[in-house]
């Protein structure tokens, strides 16, 4: 993966494969603490303790098309390379929480990349899931809740191409705003 936002997309796909109907993505950037943290929380089917432990092992997967699972181990590797780590908390029937953290100033930290593209893509492909996306940069919060968008759209589906395009721009513009107007969010 070239960007952390692609890891986010991949981990969320795991949540959706686990039957999640609500997925919360939270990103916190804190310059003072030199920290970048990503949390993905879902209400999918969850895993027992043993499976959750195995989830970080590249030679474990629940899929049948190949013998290695790579999503979480790739994220864990990216985190460890940048002075951080990943934890997975899960219980059967209660969903899963994946937390990853990174040293923000670390030279090997992957760029966060196009979060607006990730969220817009997820909405386009999974219009029935309630996505909640929160992003905090040094105390400035942007919050996106797909349910609010859906309410305003009434009978128009959220995966209509016009709507998906609006969502991508909406998120991109707001991230620029809380980032102090700096470019680079895509």
């Amino acid at each position: 993966m070239k960007e952390l936002s692609l890891h986010v997309m991949d981990i969320v796909e795991n949540s959706l494969n686990a039957g999640a109907t609500v997925v919360e993505i939270k990103i916190v950037e804190d310059s003072k603490k030199d920290l970048l943290a990503i949390e993905i929380r879902d209400n999918g089917m969850g895993m027992d303790e043993e499976t959750a432990k195995k989830a970080l092992d590249p030679f474990f997967t629940s899929r049948t098309t190949r013998k290695v699972g790579l999503g979480l181990p790739l994220l864990a590797q990216a985190a460890k390379t940048a002075g951080g780590d990943v934890t997975v908390h899960s219980r059967p029937g209660e969903g899963t929480v994946v937390k990853a953290w990174f040293k923000k100033s670390h030279i090997d930290l992957q760029p966060l990349g196009n979060m607006a593209g990730t969220v817009a893509s997820l909405v386009a492909l999974h219009p029935d899931v309630d996505f909640i996306y929160r992003h905090v940069i040094d105390g400035r919060l942007f919050r996106f809740h797909l349910r609010e968008i859906r309410k305003r759209l009434q009978d128009v589906p959220v995966n209509n191409p016009l709507v998906v395009d609006w969502i991508r721009k909406f998120i991109s513009d707001n991230l620029k705003e809380i980032n102090g107007g700096a470019e680079g969010w895509g």
């Binding site: 699972g69 196009n114 386009a124 609010e148 016009l162 395009d165 609006w166 705003e177």
Partner: protein
């Protein structure tokens, strides 16, 4: 900055398009491979390019959906085009530019781009 109020306008625009095309029940499907391999190979950019091209061309009767890893990771990003009553066509090693051409040539003009296709799987 964009605000959520703008959605009212989007809603009206989208509704007009939907009403025009309500009759068409037999829909074309575009399927993008979104396994770890696909995402890593650039499937998100491909998907966004497809959606953007559909938006620009006012096409709202195409269903865009995803599939997981089908075991052909080295050909990712993969895009299937399934038109009603026609066999599935699988495009391999797609990028954003190819994706736009697939919409223009295959979806709109109904011409399969043979050199980017692998035989039916």
């Amino acid at each position: 900055m964009k605000s959520i109020e703008e959605l009212e306008k989007i809603r009206e625009q989208a509704r007009e398009l939907i009403n025009l095309r309500k009759e068409n029940e037999n829909k074309t499907r575009i399927v993008v491979g979104m396994g770890t391999c696909g995402i890593s190979a650039g499937a998100r950019q491909v998907l966004l390019a497809i959606l953007d091209e559909l938006k620009k061309r006012n096409i709202s009767d195409v269903i865009v959906t995803e599939t997981g890893c089908i075991g052909m990771c080295r050909f990712e990003p993969l895009v299937d085009v399934i038109k009603p009553n026609q066999p599935k066509v699988t495009y391999v090693n797609v990028d954003a530019d190819k994706a736009r051409q697939i919409v223009a040539r295959h979806i709109v003009n109904n011409q399969v781009i043979d050199e980017w296709v692998i035989p039916n799987i």
